[in-house]
């Protein structure tokens, strides 16, 4: 198990390296002269040259890359080209907001999706099953920001149950914090909820038809105990989907945060891309990939615990 975890960790570090390198060169290709965006209307040849020297873009790209990579290895994400503050600190300031929303969305997806999936899977072809199936088809395809707009119109503007915009930190008031992230989280989670429900339903039905379930029944086990066996055997695919959803939710959060005016990583990403603040964009990419790697690692450990066969491979 230790070797297994270590292998996944090494694989995660390689992924981080490859992705940050790819993003670095992509960003430099997409933004050939960042000084133009950074200075905006104040851009004059002199000011541009001065800024280029200050942020080091007058050097060859490869030198800049090695410089940046050297910092990254030591955990230094560099300084912003816009306000010359450390990138790490600025992201750390915005990250709690995004993580609040995404975590809430993941919890919603797991709990609601799990519940619906189990109900539908244990009673296939009942109304709840058909609702889940039909909802899965449509809701999964609709983008989170579309759902967000509908929810804002209905619950914030018309019914006024939730605030339409703004974020309340948990330190200020826990209930208000929850209220401020509820609609964003639901918008993000809806697609994941039905996807997980559908996946779990299919897995349960498939597991229920397995030979070992008949044998367990022949031993006289009660329904709740049989369900435990079913769940343990049908959980892995849904957990994999959940981990995959995490990446999708991070993507979706960028737009959804915009709609609900949440001061998270989303608006920071957008303004940085408009300014051409490459260190900030790279920092955000690195942090997100780190989260993805951690989530996948947790998933692998969890899957290994649930399904002993995985550990052998």
């Amino acid at each position: 198990m230790f070797i297994f975890t270590l292998k996944r960790l090494v694989s995660g570090v390689i992924l981080l390296f490859v992705m940050s390198t790819a993003t670095f060169f992509l960003a430099h290709a997409a933004i050939p002269d960042p000084t133009l965006g950074l200075l905006g209307s104040a851009a004059t040849p002199d000011a541009q040259a001065a800024l280029a020297e200050k942020i080091g873009t007058d050097r060859p790209v490869l030198v800049q890359y090695l410089d940046w990579l050297g910092g990254l290895v030591q955990g230094d994400l560099g300084t912003s080209w816009k306000n010359f503050q450390p990138v790490g600190a600025q992201i750390a300031l915005k990250l709690p907001v995004t993580l609040s929303v995404v975590t809430f969305a993941i919890v919603l997806s797991a709990v609601l999706g799990g519940l619906l999936g189990v109900l539908a899977g244990l009673r296939p072809d009942t109304w709840i099953d058909r609702v889940v199936k039909a909802a899965a088809v449509i809701l999964f395809a609709l983008p989170g920001f579309w759902v967000a707009l509908v929810l804002v119109m209905a619950f914030a503007v018309q019914l006024q149950w939730f605030p339409a915009v703004g974020y309340v930190p948990p330190g200020q008031s826990i209930p208000d914090w929850l209220r401020s992230i509820t609609l964003p989280a639901i918008s993000l989670a809806l697609g994941a909820v039905v996807m997980i429900a559908e996946q779990l339903r299919n897995a349960i039905i498939q597991a229920d038809g397995q030979d070992y379930m008949r044998t367990l029944r022949s031993r006289g086990l009660s329904r709740p105990r049989l369900v435990t066996h079913l769940l343990r055997n049908s959980a892995p695919p849904s957990l994999t989907i959940l981990a995959l959803m995490f990446v999708g939710l991070l993507s979706g959060a960028i737009i959804v945060e915009q709609i609900f005016a949440l001061p998270g990583v989303g608006p920071l990403t957008q303004s940085s891309s408009q300014n051409g603040d490459i260190p900030m964009l790279l920092g955000i990419t690195v942090i997100t990939v780190v989260f993805v790697v951690i989530i996948n690692l947790l998933l692998d450990v969890l899957l290994g615990w649930i399904n002993p066969k995985v550990r052998v491979k």
């Binding site: 992924l15 992705m19 993003t23 992509l26 960003a27 997409a30 933004i31 965006g37 072809d125 199936k133 039909a134 899965a136 088809v137 449509i138 999964f140 395809a141 609709l142 983008p143 920001f145 579309w146 707009l149 119109m153 503007v157 559908e198 038809g209 030979d211 070992y212 008949r214 044998t215 367990l216 029944r217 022949s218 031993r219 006289g220 086990l221 009660s222 105990r225 066996h229 343990r232 055997n233 990446v247 991070l250 993507s251 979706g252 960028i254 737009i255 915009q258 709609i259 990403t269 891309s273 051409g276 964009l281 990419t285 997100t288 990939v289 993805v292 996948n296 649930i306 002993p308 066969k309």
Partner: protein, 627 residues
């Protein structure tokens, strides 16, 4: 996503019609297809349909309410909303087309290669696919979008790159599934080149899933595109729906309609694509689904009409003991299965019995209904099946009269079950120890330590040399012979008076078969159980059965003492079965011996031989246990 949106028995009858016709026969398919055709038409004929130029500004209609001249009113800068929506269709479709095209061009060939060649190609491809999936695409899109002059096509190509892993995985797994099909092998043997095999033979089964995936991908691409425009990227002066949504969002408190129209257009387009894809998947998939309740009721009604009482086949078989003295007695058992074509009866009214301490063999070819018979005995028929019987006696009690809970209680207490395929009958996620002790604790109320001691004792009894180690093992760490011993231990741990074994040796190696059979015989004698053993092998019958039931297509051909049946079969079918069994028999010697001696009298009288046997197999099993 193969969810049927409509239940439609009728469409199954028309398999011959093309997939497309079958798609349109479903309401969901027809409606979603019609909507998409409409959207395409609107896009193509936009210049003719739109009443105004989408960028023409008329300040007089700024935020104007709907009017005859401007059916959807004007937007915040005084442009006609309807015209902009109509032109937006073009951009939306073109964007989806570019994204899906890019995805297919990248994902499908790489998936084909990974699935077909396997090995290193597969590993590298899968790694890249996983890597792309682990990056939030929106960040990259923002980077690409912000400083490339909002190049719309480039953005949609990037969206396509991020959606390519979906095609890659799909193609790869489909190809993996068909790679070893006989027709692909045949093509390879015939000397066709890899490229030719892939384009000619492998791509065909991949096509349908790709079309379905494309419907979903196109919908998601539309969502991504609108999302980008909503953020102000990739829009420019073009009248996209996402840009219109952003505009509407900013004024939603005063002019909510400006948000409503583009949202509706986008929502309906995406939903139509999703429903079309799902319905298509449903139409193409040929696997039979379980019936809905409504279908079940409908079937029940038609069957009541179709099967008059006279048409029912007469019951076959006979009993040899009084009901009260029998361990199990079936009277006129019928088993039926619901299929999409109607209810099919697979066991046509059979009667048989087995006395305590007796070994009864049920023999027949596959499809003769022998397994269905024992599953009815256990009340463990699959979901689609059910039985009727005049009576089923177990331990002198008619269990068909028992309430469901009491009937279920017999399992594990009075009747035990040994399955056919040992490797698929142990729950892969739990240790052997858990699977053995759980019923003892939950069903028989033993404490943890007592249950563990009993499980260890049972494992030892069935001839497992290192019970403590096997208890800690997971099923995949056991050999087939070991797993079957574990299953036997589990079946008898509750001390049942009847043991039902469904082809208990068929899936085992020839060398292990005899040992397992011997073990069953020993245990049957030791615990004075009635043993019902289902088999297609007359060698097994000759080896351990006292009496034999010969079944053929759901009816009983003949019941008789084993010796008599071998010496003088009453039915020609029995004779043929025995002859066929002996032709390829691996145990003629045993058969001959069984024919000479009355079955069951002297066999177990030689414990030394039996012990020797089990010891040898332990040795084999021990070697097979993986650390």
């Amino acid at each position: 996503m193969t969810a049927p949106l409509t239940d439609n028995i009728g469409s199954r009858e028309h398999r011959r019609g093309s997939t497309f016709v079958r798609l349109l026969k479903r309401p969901a398919g027809a409606i979603s297809f019609a909507i998409l055709v409409l959207i395409v038409l609107v896009a193509v004929f936009a210049p003719l349909l739109a009443p105004y130029d989408p960028n023409f500004v008329d300040l007089a209609i700024t935020r104007a309410a709907p009017s005859p001249e401007h059916p959807l009113g004007g937007d915040t800068t005084g442009r006609d909303v309807l015209s902009r929506l109509i032109y937006g269709t073009r951009i939306t479709l073109w964007g989806a087309f570019v994204a899906v095209g890019t995805s297919i061009v990248i994902g499908v060939p790489s998936g084909l290669a990974a699935g077909y060649f396997g090995g290193r190609t597969d590993r590298i491809g899968t790694w890249i696919s996983d890597a792309v999936q682990s990056v939030p695409g929106m960040i990259i899109l923002l980077i690409v979008g912000a400083n490339t002059g909002n190049n719309f096509d480039l953005l949609m190509i990037t969206v396509g790159v991020f959606m390519a892993p979906g095609y890659f995985r799909l193609t790869r797994s489909t190809v993996l599934a068909v790679r070893n099909e006989p027709y692909v092998d045949a093509a390879r043997v015939a000397g066709l080149s890899n490229t030719r095999i892939m384009t000619r033979h492998v791509i065909r089964p991949v096509l349908a899933p790709i079309v379905i995936q494309s419907a979903l991908t196109a919908g998601m691409a539309m969502g991504m595109q609108a999302g980008l425009q909503f953020l102000g990227i990739g829009g420019g002066t073009t009248p996209g729906w996402g840009a219109a949504m952003n505009e509407g969002f900013r004024v939603m408190r005063t002019d909510p309609l400006l948000l409503l129209w583009p949202s509706l257009a986008l929502g309906i387009s995406i939903a139509a694509l999703a429903v079309l894809g799902s319905t298509l998947a449903d139409v193409i998939s040929v696997k039979t689904t379980t019936l809905t309740r409504r279908q079940r009721r409908r079937l029940a009604a038609t069957n009541a009409d179709a099967l008059p009482a006279g048409a029912v086949e007469a019951a076959t078989g006979s009993v040899s003991h009084a009901a009260a003295d029998s361990a199990v007695r079936l009277e006129n058992l019928r088993v039926k299965h619901e299929t999409p074509r109607g209810v099919v009866e697979v066991v046509h009214g059979i009667t048989l019995d087995v006395a305590p301490g007796e070994v009864l063999g049920i023999v027949g070819e596959s499809g003769s209904g022998k397994s269905q018979t024992v599953f009815s005995m256990l009340d463990l028929l699959p979901k689609s099946g059910y039985y009727t019987a005049d009576a089923i006696w177990i331990g002198g009690e008619d269990v068909t009269r028992l309430p469901r809970a009491a009937r279920a209680k017999l399992l594990g207490h009075r009747i035990g079950y040994v399955p056919q395929e040992p490797m698929t009958n142990l729950d892969p996620s739990f240790t052997v120890g858990h699977q053995l002790t759980e019923p003892l604790r939950a069903v028989h109320g033993m404490s943890r330590s007592v249950a563990k001691a009993r499980a260890l004792a049972m494992l030892e009894r069935v001839g497992i040399a290192d019970p403590a180690r096997v208890m800690r093992s997971y099923p995949h760490e056991l050999s087939g012979g070991m797993a079957q011993r574990v299953l036997i231990a589990g079946a008898i741990a509750g001390r049942p008076s009847v043991l039902v074994a469904d082809e208990p040796t068929t899936a085992l190696d020839v060398t292990v078969q005899a040992e397992v059979l011997e073990l069953l015989r020993e245990l049957q004698q030791e615990y004075r159980m009635a043993l019902v053993i289902v088999t297609h092998n007359f060698g097994v019958v000759a080896d351990i059965c006292d009496r034999v039931v010969v079944m053929r297509s759901g009816s009983i051909e003949e019941i008789g003492e084993t010796t008599r049946l071998f010496a003088a079969p009453e039915r020609e079918y029995t004779r043929e079965l025995i002859a066929a069994s002996l032709d390829g028999a691996e145990s003629r010697g045993e058969l001959d011996r069984a024919a000479r001696e009355p079955a069951g009298s002297t066999r177990a009288a030689d414990p030394a031989a039996a012990t020797q046997n089990t010891d040898a197999s332990d040795e084999a099993d021990r070697r097979e246990v993986r650390a």
